[in-house]
Symmetry: C2
Subunit: 364 residues, 2 copies
């Protein structure tokens, strides 16, 4: 029943009220923290892990984060876990960063005492005993990494009043994987770059981003593929700089990338207006008519429709419906909607139904 509450709520980030929300879907900040005096999660036994869960939950509840939003890993079946992954509340299974020799750090993996505390509206969450004891994350609409960072920073402050986090004067916050050491901050945006892909400039953009310390990944972050021309762009280094500098650097670099995307979109409309409009309208036409639809096809056609909204070629569906479809058309959500073990054809039919509902007032 509680899972249903999550399932039917609309996460705040889906509302396209953030800056540049025609291009940037969401911004995310995440702090990695470990409780002082406990072994790292992958080295700790179940008793210790259970103790960490209790400590964090008690502290969070005391700090005003309702513990009824906590979902224990062992209470979730595979479809339930998938729902959290699909809402970007927990990590993608088998992420490339999995600490060597450790159990799958994602909550979607093997069971041991761990879980996720989800705040109202999903604007923030705390993962307990994933790769680190705590992963405090905040997700907000559009291009607003500073807001996301300020949110996690405030949660960090409130928890720090009762929990002592592992900290070294020399290195800063200590983390299970050395890439997160220092600030423990990972800041990222999910950005839609269809014009850069269409003009074949996306690969160049990814290389340039790498040269200035950014990491470009797929839709579900580490270990996932790029689908629907949606890229996750994040900082690589969390050490040796104040948090605010890390956030500002990401903002500066991402602003350049967003600017390239806008220029590529202008170029496309100048040089190939017919073909671009054709692609956009056909994609909307297929989504408005298909009776069987795979996830990847939805992501790709949805990308063209999103571009159409950005270019004002289309005025419908609204961006919020499109954001919502990004999540509810994923397999875990569809399985939950159908309330039974659905086969792939059942899901493809249901996905097509959901999409057509949202495309009913789209004019072709």
């Amino acid at each position: 029943m509680r899972l249903e509450r999550i399932f039917h709520s609309i996460p705040a980030w889906m509302n396209p009220d953030g800056p540049e929300s025609g291009i940037v879907i969401s911004s995310r900040a995440r702090l990695a923290r470990n409780v002082s005096g406990f072994p790292y999660a992958h080295l700790a036994g179940d008793d210790k892990l259970r103790e960490i869960v209790d400590t964090v939950l008690d502290t969070a509840n005391g700090a005003g984060f309702d513990r009824s939003g906590f979902f224990r890993n062992e209470d979730l079946d595979d479809a339930g876990k998938a729902i959290f992954v699909e809402r970007h509340l927990i990590g993608y299974p088998n992420a490339a960063s999995a600490h060597a020799g450790s159990p799958d750090p994602s909550l979607a993996g093997r069971n041991f005492p761990r879980g996720v505390l989800v705040m109202e509206g999903e604007y923030a969450s705390i993962l307990i005993n994933e790769e680190d004891h705590l992963r405090i994350q905040s997700l907000c609409s559009g291009f607003d990494p500073m807001k996301a960072w300020e949110e996690v920073d405030s949660i960090d402050d409130r928890l720090s009043q009762s929990i002592q986090f592992s900290f070294s004067r020399k290195y800063g916050y200590l983390t299970a994987c050395p890439t997160n050491i220092g600030t423990g901050l990972r800041i990222s945006i999910l950005v839609h770059l269809p014009a850069l892909v269409l003009t074949n400039d996306a690969q160049r953009m990814i290389r340039s981003a790498g040269q200035i310390g950014l990491v470009v990944r797929g839709y579900f972050g580490e270990g996932s593929d790029v689908v629907g021309n949606i890229f996750q762009i994040s900082n690589h280094v969390s050490l040796g700089k104040p948090e605010r500098d890390i956030v500002e650097e990401l903002i500066r670099a991402a602003t350049t990338i967003i600017d390239y995307e806008k220029r590529a979109a202008d170029t496309l409309m100048k040089d190939a207006k017919n073909q671009v409009e054709d692609k956009i309208f056909r994609s909307a036409g297929i989504l408005k008519s298909a009776r069987v639809l795979s996830t990847s096809e939805f992501m790709n056609l949805g990308s063209a429709v999103r571009l159409g909204l950005y270019l004002n070629v289309l005025s419908r569906p609204d961006l919020r419906s499109l954001n919502e479809l990004l999540v509810i058309t994923q397999p875990g959500h569809l399985q939950a909607l159908q309330g039974r073990a659905a086969d792939s054809m059942d899901r493809d039919v249901k996905r097509a139904d959901l999409v057509r509902e949202r495309f009913i007032d789209v004019r072709l």
Copy 2:
């Protein structure tokens, strides 16, 4: 101006009021005749050819066929000739049957004295100095070869009162190409067989048809490709049998093929309903939304829509609009509509516009 009259009229065969018009687009009969005492067209000089044109036109006019419906080959530019080909009023250029060593027998080829007399509503036409001196043809809606044959037979009778046709007691009517000798009758239907194509049974059908003396060809007959799953099926032999027997044999064989198509369509809807409906609706969705559309893409998507109408999966557009689009989306018609030398992109844009107009009330 006269070309415009043809251009804007709706040929009678487009009305889906003939038998089986959900599957059979049109039925055609054609008689090959030569005027006694004149060399065959490919052996005759311009003076003789001109004489034949005048003789036939005078006779036809006297028999009640208004000579103002005559279009001289030399008065038509390439786009004008294409319009007649696209309306199935004259043969496809470079037809495989071209008599060895003769000029292109199609009116769409090189200029010499020849032309086509078109009857009101395009229900019938007389080609003068194509491969034979006369090709009397009639085209009617749906599966009605007997009606088409009776029409050409009646025209033949009326012309025979004033013109003596080359005839041998032994062989029957004499023709420029021996395959037409005897009755000079070619009877054919344009039939839409998407289900046989989808179930991979079309090739087998074509082989079987060959074994019982039928010829299966593409959309524009001899020398043309199969596009949009539309096949031309005709008799192979015109010698040694009364006309009515030839027509009845074609009707019998075609009835079997139509029956196979119906059974294949039933099987598809039973075994793969989701996929078939998906294909139909997507095709309608793309035609309702595309801004750039090639001829072959229109033919293929239009085939799925035609199947959708047959299966009652779609109720719009009406079959007549679909028949009309088959003709007016062809390059010659588009060129004439645009009234200037249009490039390929211009035509693809105009084609998409025309199709969207006809799909405006299609519900997806």
